[in-house]
């Protein structure tokens, strides 16, 4: 997995250009594991389905304007910036297996992506992009077996990320083309709104806490896919519980070392586990139902959340 939608602070650039036609777009990101769409676009909602490959359905109003670019291995879905009034929408880019290889060979996508993509286009090594999608069925993969990775668009993968690409070529704006620019900016208020939290409260949390909350809330967007894969409610609860505990580990490692002993000691004493309540504890001491465990797993807690 290259990136699991960690909150990023922008902007990053693909190169400065004058603003003529503005489109809200995003770069595609390749994942070795299914990405988590943590942002529901407003007013354009996204319903996320993922098994192998992705086929997100876009709903809401205004609808997206679909554009198909030949000669590139990226298919872009654009909606004019002014229609969305500063909201984020997503551009979905197909990537070839070669891109996957590129990501495997390069650890810093943002630094090397632009030059690499341009070179790919200039070389003419990108072939037959139409085969990647059924043009009439937006966002439905027509050739899933041609890829080994998963795709996510940054605004969907990162709560609160506002992203835009400005293209001097307007409607023909080609991703990666010289002169286009992408900006990504993390807006904690936007993130809070997406998560249904009090924005004023959220922005005053420490940055680390914001990231943690964002990751926790992202878990709820995995539920549809888990259900679709046939897991029972108990299995989903156990899965999310394990992932939530893993997040606890991840963020504990980022907690100031001086605070860790106190947290571990409190948890060990109170719950018998330094990572906090186990699923046995939740079931047998707190008497939580499986549905409640699922809800708890994707709900940030703590006194600072104002609950």
């Amino acid at each position: 997995m290259r990136n699991i939608g960690l909150v990023r602070e922008g902007p990053y650039h693909y190169g400065p250009i004058p603003m003529k036609h503005v489109y809200v777009v995003d770069a595609g990101w390749l994942w070795n594991e299914p990405p988590v769409y943590v942002g529901m676009m407003d007013p354009t909602g996204v319903v996320y389905h993922l098994n192998k490959g992705v086929s997100p359905n876009y709903t809401g109003s205004p609808g997206l304007t679909e554009n198909w670019y030949k000669g590139l291995d990226a298919k872009s879905y654009c909606v004019s910036y002014d229609k969305l009034e500063n909201e984020v929408t997503g551009l979905f880019h197909a990537m070839t297996n070669d891109w996957n290889k590129w990501f495997e060979e390069n650890d810093d996508p943002t630094a090397k992506f632009d030059a690499w993509a341009r070179q790919r286009v200039l070389d003419g090594t990108v072939k037959n992009p139409e085969s990647w999608y059924n043009q009439k069925s937006a966002f439905v993969r027509s050739a899933q077996n041609e890829t080994t990775g998963y795709y996510a668009t940054l605004p969907l993968a990162v709560l609160g990320a506002k992203s835009s690409v400005v293209s001097e070529l307007g409607e023909s704006g080609q991703f990666g083309r010289s002169g286009s620019r992408a900006l990504t900016e993390y807006d904690p208020r936007f993130a809070a709104r997406q998560m249904g939290l009090d924005a004023e409260h959220f922005v005053n949390l420490p940055k680390l806490r914001q990231q943690y909350v964002t990751q926790v809330v992202s878990l709820r967007y995995k539920i549809p896919a888990l259900r679709q894969s046939g897991l029972s409610t108990e299995q989903i609860a156990r899965t999310l519980s394990a992932e939530r505990r893993a997040l606890g580990v991840l963020f504990k490692n980022r907690t100031p070392p001086a605070e860790l002993p106190g947290i571990y000691a409190r948890n060990m004493k109170k719950y018998g586990d330094e990572l906090g309540p186990t699923i046995d504890y939740l079931r047998n001491v707190k008497n939580k139902s499986w549905v409640e465990i699922i809800e708890s797993a994707s709900t940030p807690g703590g006194t600072d959340m104002g609950y």
Binding site: L205, P277, N284, G301
Partner: protein, 165 residues
């Protein structure tokens, strides 16, 4: 070395009506509880070793506050709360409310619209850590009254406690 089961301890020493309850203040602490008298016999899990109760044997939980102890337990297919020397059945008709700030709390229990308890209690400590990244930690973990209140308002949780869900 022969393994003694937990049941053998209470069968022989404390009687068949005793049940195991888990402390919500301290995981290592379990207690044998007599629903008839309200007596809590506390033990250390570590000290009990192999005879410490397993999860299916735990029939409830308890917490100590400054002016006593709460015990929420299942007994003969029903859920009861022992608080301030009295026992209240936590059925579908009963609602427990808790209010207060800081360490001071007020608990009221209403059954079919009638108030059967209105008492104050004081938390021993809160132990909540601001910016705590520990998952599944909730305010009710630090206030047993709030835990009981939440239980009273959730049929699902009561069914889990009764082993029906």
């Amino acid at each position: 070395m022969p393994v003694r089961r937990a049941e053998q301890i209470w069968d022989t020493k404390l009687g068949k009506n005793m049940i195991w309850v888990q402390s919500k203040d301290e995981f290592d602490c379990v207690a044998q509880f007599d629903p008839a008298t309200g007596v809590l016999g506390k033990h250390s899990r570590a000290a009990l070793g192999v005879v410490a109760p397993t999860w299916p044997e735990i029939a409830g939980s308890f917490s100590e506050v400054k002016n006593g102890a709460f015990v929420l337990y299942r007994y003969r297919g029903q859920i009861f709360l022992r608080a301030f020397g009295n026992v209240y059945e936590l059925d579908n008709q009963t609602v427990v409310n808790v209010c207060g700030t800081g360490f001071k709390r007020r608990m009221s229990i209403q059954t079919m619209g009638c108030c059967v308890l209105d008492m104050e209690y004081e938390l021993v400590s809160r132990n909540a850590i601001s910016c705590d990244p520990t998952p599944f930690v909730e305010d009710e973990d630090f206030d047993f009254g709030l835990f009981v209140s939440n239980m009273s308002k959730s049929r699902e949780r009561r069914e889990v406690m009764l082993g029906k869900s």
